[in-house]
């Protein structure tokens, strides 16, 4: 909402207040001021001039030499505008004036003729072309009425106005009118309001004799008032009115339309003026449209209606979509002489859906959508009639022909002073509240400390005690509310075990060298189906898709963070950031339903993407690229950190999009909870990446495996014994299996078994490999004897021979 201060001053005294001070007060009390801007550039030495003479320039066809009376002198001005003529009152920039764009007006000779100033067009004065009336579009501006010669043209053209832009929250539609703003400002400044004139001169002829009103759906249209104004002369509206419309961003059209718009801005009540003679009948019938009914609206569009649209008809066919737009056939035009003036209350929802469906949001529909003030509907009609009488030569017929089922009842809200103080944390007394209610112009009854407040109909946003808490609170001033800390039982506060673990996982991974990413949950359909972990994959599992995505890019919910993380990796590699080590903790959204009947299962996952070099330390000749074992090692470390490493195993596995030979399923007590491996070379290529590795595991399952019991294991007091063995096996025997067998067979004495060498090559038979393990024997209760170790060692060798045909390497 744009508020012209020059206009606002008509209702409220703003003396002694700078626009900035006013803006600050409005912002702090209730409505955010989003801008304080001068409307134009006030211009010095810009005056009203009277063109006494206008003669053709002796040496130039397109120029005129004018004698212009500017009050204290007569200036000779050469003017090139085609519309300049003797007898006009015009805006004259005298020598010394500076027009927008730093255009300095000086005395000059034009083709030999003296020129002392310039007769200006509105554009030259800085007024936006769209607000310039058509008749002046190609030439100078000519004042209407009879402004005093020599008067300050700058202020007549409103160039000295300041516009305050209000950012209205949806509840404050009461401030969508100058009167509403006046109420707000008057309350803040504690000053009276000067209301506009609604007294209309009427004729003896009665409106009810020339028009009837029938409303078929009183729910959607509880009030419809029609007035008739005859003998209208359509022409331009007075300059001051046009200026005010322009200051609010509305283009002046003609006096009739401008007056309805002016009242809309002043009262917040949209009105519509029909050409009575072209209305098609003398009966107004308001009803729901029939399915498929059509109307040609003011903008020339043919629109098809449906039964949830409310229309104004002439008894036969629609002449307007209620509250949204009038029809072209009954539009007020130059030859209009009788106007049928509509002031109505239309159901907000009906107007909203019609405006939305036809893409016709307007100053009018916005106000109806928010609900207009019942009290002002009829008054706005009267005000418009008064203006039509004053500025369009109209004669107003007696009476308002109305259908009226509208409720004008004021709601009441009852509260006590102590409740007010209890919620706000203040210690106001009754008198303080009385004073605020007086400023707000709310009437009330008081009994002890209990207030029963009648809420004016203009404030449709207030119906609860809490709404009054806000009114009283904001007028009391939020700055004046003290700072206190909550009383009552204090909680300890803190993280849940899960949240604390999640933070530990993050810190571990960061310590391990990974950077956290945040990628989008919404991705393309293709990516949503890519790299889905085998533990997520299942019959009918599919990504959730949006009903109406804004783009294909963000249309489906992810089933893994990996595709978007890989895109981030690719982005970096393309920018010469070739070493990437990312992790992300975030949800995936799993469902088996093609059409959701319930929310998808949101599972928190830990995903990682690594590519490029892992360690570069050139001068000591160390360089290590990321490989499978780097990435697996990070996971191993994590599981060890979480003390669940004994429940974890890896198994060669196949995952779509992953390298078939370099991918492992991550298993927790035998159940697959994710995967780790190298990306399939085809996918690597698709992402423009070289070797890239990824992991994706179910974090919730990992956390569930963690035992909450933490016990202390005494430090062994007896020495351990270390034994190494090198075993030759078939190359497809998995080291993990072999190790597991060694540990199982060696229990309880063998406490650890570490792979320290893997060999395959010329010193071994083809198809064979050697795996060397270092075994740690320990009995925490005593010193081990050699024979015992020997015995277990042999048992292990026998077992691996039996199970894997493993031979001791010679």
């Amino acid at each position: 909402m744009f508020v012209s201060l020059n206009w606002l001053k008509q209702y409220v005294d703003l003396q002694g207040l700078t626009p900035e001070d006013l803006a600050e007060k409005i912002t702090k009390t209730g409505i955010e001021v989003e801008g304080v801007e001068p409307f134009g550039e006030p211009i010095e030495n810009l005056v009203v001039g009277y063109v006494k003479e206008c003669n053709q320039h002796p040496n130039a066809d397109k120029l005129n030499v004018c004698q212009v009376d500017v009050g204290d002198e007569v200036l000779q001005i050469v003017c090139g505008a085609p519309n300049v003529a003797q007898g006009q009152k015009v805006a004259v920039a005298k020598p010394g004036a500076v027009l927008p764009g730093n255009f300095q007006i000086k005395k000059a000779k034009l083709r030999g003729e003296e020129s002392s100033g310039m007769i200006c067009s509105l554009q030259e004065l800085g007024i936006d072309e769209k607000y310039v009336p058509a008749e002046f579009a190609e030439g100078i501006f000519v004042f209407d009425g009879d402004p005093e010669v020599g008067a300050n043209a700058s202020s007549l053209l409103n160039l000295d106005d300041i516009i305050i832009e209000l950012g209205l929250t949806p509840n404050r539609s009461d401030a969508l009118s100058m009167l509403g703003v006046a109420y707000e400002v008057a309350a803040i400044l504690d000053t009276p309001i000067h209301f506009p004139n609604e007294d209309v001169q009427i004729t003896e002829e009665k409106a009810e004799d020339v028009v009837s009103v029938t409303v078929k759906d009183g729910n959607l249209n509880p009030y419809y008032g029609a007035m008739v104004v005859k003998n209208i002369e359509v022409g331009p509206a007075p300059l001051w009115m046009r200026n005010r419309l322009i200051s609010a961003g509305i283009r002046p059209i003609n006096n009739v339309v401008d007056i309805t718009n002016y009242v809309l801005l002043e009262y917040g009540q949209p009105l519509h003026a029909f050409d009575y003679d072209r209305f098609g009948s003398n009966e107004v019938v308001v009803r729901r449209a029939t399915e498929g009914e059509t109307i040609k609206t003011l903008d020339g569009e043919e629109r098809t209606l449906s039964s949830n649209h409310l229309v104004i008809t002439n008894g036969q066919e629609p002449v307007a979509i209620a509250g949204v737009m009038g029809g072209a056939d009954s539009e007020v035009h130059e030859g209009t002489t009788t106007v049928l003036l509509e002031a109505a209350y239309f159901d907000p929802q009906a107007v909203r859906s019609a405006a939305k469906e036809h893409g016709l949001r307007s100053e009018a529909s916005v106000r109806f959508e928010k609900g207009v003030d019942p009290d002002r509907v009829q008054r706005a009609g009267l005000r418009a009639a008064q203006l039509l009488s004053d500025y369009a030569g109209g004669e107003v017929l007696d009476g308002v022909v109305a259908y009226d089922e509208l409720s004008y009842e004021e709601k009441t809200v009852t509260f006590t002073t102590s409740r007010m103080n209890h919620v706000l944390g203040t210690d106001m007394d009754d008198a303080h509240i009385q004073d605020i209610l007086r400023k707000l112009q709310f009437s009330y009854e008081q009994e002890g400390e209990t207030f029963t407040v009648s809420i004016p109909t203009r404030r449709g946003d207030i119906s609860l005690v809490e709404d009054m808490v806000e009114e009283i609170g904001r007028m009391y001033g939020y700055d004046n509310i003290p700072f206190t800390m909550p009383q009552g039982a204090g909680n300890a506060g803190g993280l849940t075990a899960y949240q604390a673990l999640r933070r530990k996982v993050r810190r571990y991974l960061e310590g391990a060298g990974l950077s956290e990413t945040l990628t989008y949950s919404l991705t393309t359909e293709e990516r949503a189906n890519l790299l889905v972990s085998p533990d997520v994959q299942g019959e009918n599992v599919r990504p959730v898709h949006l009903a109406m995505p804004m783009s294909e890019e963000h249309s489906h919910l992810r089933l893994s963070a990996l595709p978007e993380m890989l895109a981030s990796a690719s982005y970096n590699v393309a920018r010469k950031q070739k070493d990437v080590a990312f992790y992300e903790v975030g949800s995936i959204y799993v469902t088996k339903e093609a059409v959701l009947t319930k929310q998808p299962d949101e599972k928190e996952r830990l995903a990682g993407v690594l590519t490029g070099s892992w360690l570069t330390h050139p001068w000591q000749q160390e360089k290590k690229n990321v490989d499978f074992y780097v990435v697996k090692g990070i996971l191993d470390g994590l599981f060890d950190y979480l003390d669940i490493e004994e429940q974890i195993s890896y198994q060669q596995g196949q995952v779509d999009g992953m390298h078939p030979g370099r991918t492992a399923l991550v298993k927790l007590n035998g159940e697959t909870i994710g995967h780790v491996g190298q990306l399939h070379p085809k996918l690597q290529k698709g992402y423009d990446l070289k070797e890239a590795y990824a992991f994706d595991v179910d974090l919730e399952k990992v956390f569930k495996a963690i035992s909450s019991e933490e016990t202390y294991t005494p430090i062994p007091r007896y020495p351990s014994i270390s034994r190494d063995i090198a075993l030759v096996v078939d190359e497809n025997v998995a080291a993990g299996d072999l190790r597991k067998t060694i540990l199982e067979t060696g229990a309880p004495l063998v406490k650890n078994c570490l792979v320290f060498d893997v060999y395959q090559g010329e010193h071994l038979e083809a198809g064979k490999k050697s795996l060397a393990f270092s075994l740690l024997y320990l009995d925490p209760t005593r010193t081990l004897k050699d024979e015992e170790v020997e015995e277990t060692h042999h048992a292990i060798l026998d077992k691996v021979k039996e199970q894997y045909s493993a031979e001791l390497r010679a």
Binding site: G493, E516, T517, L518, S568, L615
Partner: protein, 344 residues
Amino acid sequence: MKERLVELKTEALEKVAQAEDAKALQDVKVQYLGKKGPITEVLRGMGKLPKEERPVIGQMANDVREEISTAIDEKQTKMEEAALEKQLQEETIDVTLPGRPAQTGGPHLLTSLIEEIEDLFIGMGFEIAEGPEVEADYYNFEALNLPKGHPARDMQDSFYITEEILMRTHTSPVQARTMEQHKGKGPVKVICPGKVYRRDTDDATHSHQFTQIEGLLVDKHVRMSDLKGVLNAFAKQMFGEEREIRLRPSFFPFTEPSVEMDISCKMCGGEGCSVCKGTGWIEILGAGMVHPNVLEMAGYDPNEYTGFAFGMGPERIAMLKYGIDDIRHFYTNDVRFLNQFHKA
């Protein structure tokens, strides 16, 4: 014999002084202090001496032995030190060569910020509550006093999946869920961080996905002054002791009264500058007293319970705090961006 001992002493000390390496020194030691050495010999020959002279000579022999031994030890220590000195000299490296890089990663800026804010409120007794990102219309809107057809639903155009299920547009549904879980009993004191989604085209100031942190306190005597107190404590810890806050009236369907909180501009100290658009204040978050309809729908008696709620955007706070000019940076994951916020 005395003369012999003095002679031996002089001779031995001279040799100690002359010894150039460990071996020479060892030789001196063996020669003079060994079992077959001359001092032992002197001691052995003491039997021939008159009884009264024996202790004198014995004492003297022991002193000489002691003296030589000390000299040898001292010399040895000296030589070892010299050897060590030499070794250390040889072991000297160029300490200005670069070290072997340790792996460093770090959290995303938004995670750091969210954890920082969580911790601030944990310190004030809040717990952390989380909820689903794909949310039921009921929790996202209806339970928050936004019935179907409510005009305020326009404020946040949403990504619907079905008519009843959508991507949550704020983290407020977690508040509704948490209150419901408490079954009408207080206190409820939670912070709800998480991802939210809006139907926006991504540009420098809009993102279809972003994060939010909401806070909620419901109890029997929660006052608006408590909201001011808690937000003030938060603002001072988060943005600095010298920051002031102010509350401005605003509107949210789920709170009444509703406010927006500004903090005094750090750049100009409240004088007005380009960062605060000349107002001296920067908008940080929205807040208010929980709307009675919201309390009621979650099973609380609004006559008995009151509460406050607030919500803020970590992206906005990060952008203000670090002068980041484009919200898309948070989701592009450019390592040159990410790494900047891994410092302590």
